[in-house]
Structures are given as C-alpha cells and as structure tokens.
C-alpha cells in the first residue's frame, strides 16, 4: 500500500460548467492515474459531520479543485481541516467564459472540446500533486489507530 496518499477535493459546483469539469477531472485522476494514490473527499460532509473526511484531510496532504474563483472547496477545507497543500482554479485554465457557462453543466451535454478541458485540468492536478513537498507526507501518524499504512 502506498504511503503517499493524496486527498483531492473538488467543488463539484452545480451552477456552472467549471464545477462539472472540476468533478470529472478529479474522478479521472482517481480512476485512470493509478500511479498516484488519490482519495476523493466529499466537501459537504465536512459540515455534516463526516469524521472520515475531516480526519483524512488533517493527516494526509490534500488539494482542492475549484470551478471558479470563489474557491469554495479551497476555503472550506482550510476552514475545517486547517490547511491545503495545493489548489486549482479551473476558470484560470479554461477561461471564465467557459467556467461560468450555466447552460452546459450536465454530463450528457459535454462535447469533445469540454473533455479536452477535463484533460487539461487533469494534468494540472497531477502537476500540483507532484509539487507537494515531501514534508507534507511526514508526521502522518494517527493517534491510537495503529493504522495499516506503515
């Protein structure tokens, strides 16, 4: 089992395309890029009492992927878990006019062009993960858990 697990939190925003792209790119990193051991975390669980999500982000390095410059995922993670080891603003990659499109949000409406945007965000996520300082992985001991990650 890899010691280098990384949490990825996407905003999955429902109001505009940026949110959908953040979600799809995060899923793609999880499903297709096996050399990075990523774990997706549910943002709304932070407030709804998700012990597992909160603990994970406190102990493992975590990055956020946001659809627009409101950076909801980044800010909430900082608020509830204290730190973030990198963040991505999808609107900076695909441009505001795309990110803020409120008409095309559903998976079935996406075109090849949109899937290309997803891939661009995927490479940005990979880059961000590889830039995480090795220090972020240390001190990841759990209190009294004897976890199997060693």
């Amino acid at each position: 089992m890899s010691e280098f697990k990384v949490g990825v939190l996407s905003c999955s925003g429902e109001e505009c395309l940026g949110g959908t792209i953040s979600r799809l790119a995060t899923r793609k990193v999880l499903e297709e890029l096996k050399f990075i051991d990523t774990v997706t975390l549910c943002l709304p669980l932070y407030l709804a009492g998700g012990e597992e999500e909160r603990n994970f982000a406190k102990v493992f390095p975590t990055i956020s992927v946001d659809g627009c410059d409101k950076l909801c995922a980044k800010r909430s993670t900082e608020k509830y878990s204290g730190k973030i080891n990198g963040f991505i603003d999808v609107s900076k990659i695909i441009g505001d006019e795309n990110a803020l499109n409120t008409k095309i949000v559903r998976n079935k409406d996406l075109t090849d062009e949109h899937h290309q945007m997803v891939d661009e965000v995927v490479s940005e996520i990979v880059k961000t993960i590889s830039n995480i300082s090795p220090d972020a992985y240390s001190g990841k001991t759990f209190h009294g858990c004897g976890c199997g990650n060693e």
Binding site: M1, K5, G7, V39, L41, E51, E52, E53, N55, F56, F142, G144, C145, G146, C147, G148, N149
Partner: protein, 285 residues
Amino acid sequence: MLENYAILPCNGLDKCAGVISREIAIKLCEEAKNVMICPVYARVAEAKYNKIVEEHALLVIDGCQTRCASKLAAEKNLKISRKISVTEEAKIHHIELKSDLRLLKNENNLIEKILNGLNNTDNIVTPPYDEIHYLYNFTYTTFQNGKFIFRVPTNPKIYFNENDCWAYVIGNRARIGVTDFVQQNLSDILYFTPPDIGAEIDQFGEVGEIESSKSVFELISPVSGKVVAINEALVTKPDLINENPYESGWVAELELTDFNSDKELLIGFDQYFEIMKKKVEELNG
C-alpha cells in the same frame, strides 16, 4: 391449525420447489381463513395488499435457496411472522426434489408433511421474551485505510468469528451482528432479511442476510442458539448497520445453547483486529 395468515409463496414456476410453494399456499387458503398474496402482483402493485398485511400475520414460503419471496417481503418492508423454505424442509424430511415441475407422489408427500408441520405448531408469532439490558458504552480501537475508518470494540464480552460477525454475550443470551469490515465493504445497506424468530441456529449457521447494491452478505452466526428477537428497526432502516454495526445495527438476539463449546472457535478483540487489518490490506493492496 394455521389461521389468519397472509400467505406469500414465491410461486417459482421453473423449479419443483417453487411449484410446491404455490401448492402449499393454495391448500392453506382452502383449509382455513388465510389470504393469498400473489408475489407477481405484489411487486407491481404493493398498495393492493396493504390492508391484508396490516390485518394478518405474514407467512412467507420460499421454494429454492434464492428465496425470492423473503426478498420481496424485505424489499416491501413487510414484517415476516413465519417463514418456511421448501428446500430446507425437503432436507429435513429426507425427500429429494427432482427437476420435474409436476407434482407426483414424492412432492405430494412433502407438501403433506410441510402442511402438517405448519398446522401443528402453535400460532405464536413472537415467543415471549424478556429484554436483557445491553450496555453500549464500548470503547473502540480504530485503524484507517485511505479515508475509511474501521472500528472494533474492545469489550471482552464481544466475541468474533473469522467470518466478520460478532456476538455480545450476556448470561445465556447474545446479540449478534456484523463488523465494520462488512459494513464498509458493502457500503449503503439497502435490504435486510432477518432470521426467523424461534429458529434454531447452529454455530456458523446462517442468521440473516444484508444486501447493498454492491453485494449480498449472509451472516454466519458465531454462536449456536435460538433466535429470540430481531432488530426490528433494521426492517425499515437497514442503514443503521452502516451507522454503527455494533450498537444500533445489531441484527438478532439468540438464547445460547452451548456457548462453552462455541467459544472454542471464537476469537476476541486482539485477534480479530489483526485479522480484519490484514483483510483490508489484502483487499486494497
């Protein structure tokens, strides 16, 4: 005489056991004041039977081991009062069921035996049973895999088998259930099929079933005994098992028959914790 029951047979058409389930249901309705529930119609128009189910105790007759009738009852949140399985009954009476779909001597013989059994037992739905107070102030030891947290209670009165089920033993009773390993692997549990109240369970015998959209898990009893209660709350809220499989998600309560001997093949927290950790690692490694 079995009376005032709603009878739900599987009515399986492609197997002898299913055909027998239908015949038994017909006979029960002919002989006494029982009402039939058609499984096909119940599936598409359950409201049709609401009143009948409210006013009658429910007898479920499963033909083969797939137990479609039980599953249908679980899916529709119906409370089962009695349950029989034609396949199990055939084994008990040493009658071998063939693949023939017509009822011949052999089959009629079994039908008669099953009907006798049903008509000659008391119509007690739930045997009287005294509540034992189970204290749930467990301390847990946990380990984490990715974001998933696995907990195991350290209470010395809780015994485990290697099939990921536990028994919380107090006096001659035990509550049983599944561990976090099962709950985490199944994910959202949608269906619960409880064991029958009054059923005699051997150690390592089947004692209910839970199911998510990922998989089905058959509970393997750590202890031998008679089922005296089931966790009724799970019938409508099986996800209580996801919430806490050791406390609100307990499955059934057994009156123990031979715990001293059962204990030989049970393990405590220390051993189970290590086994579970290894299982999680193998699954994810």
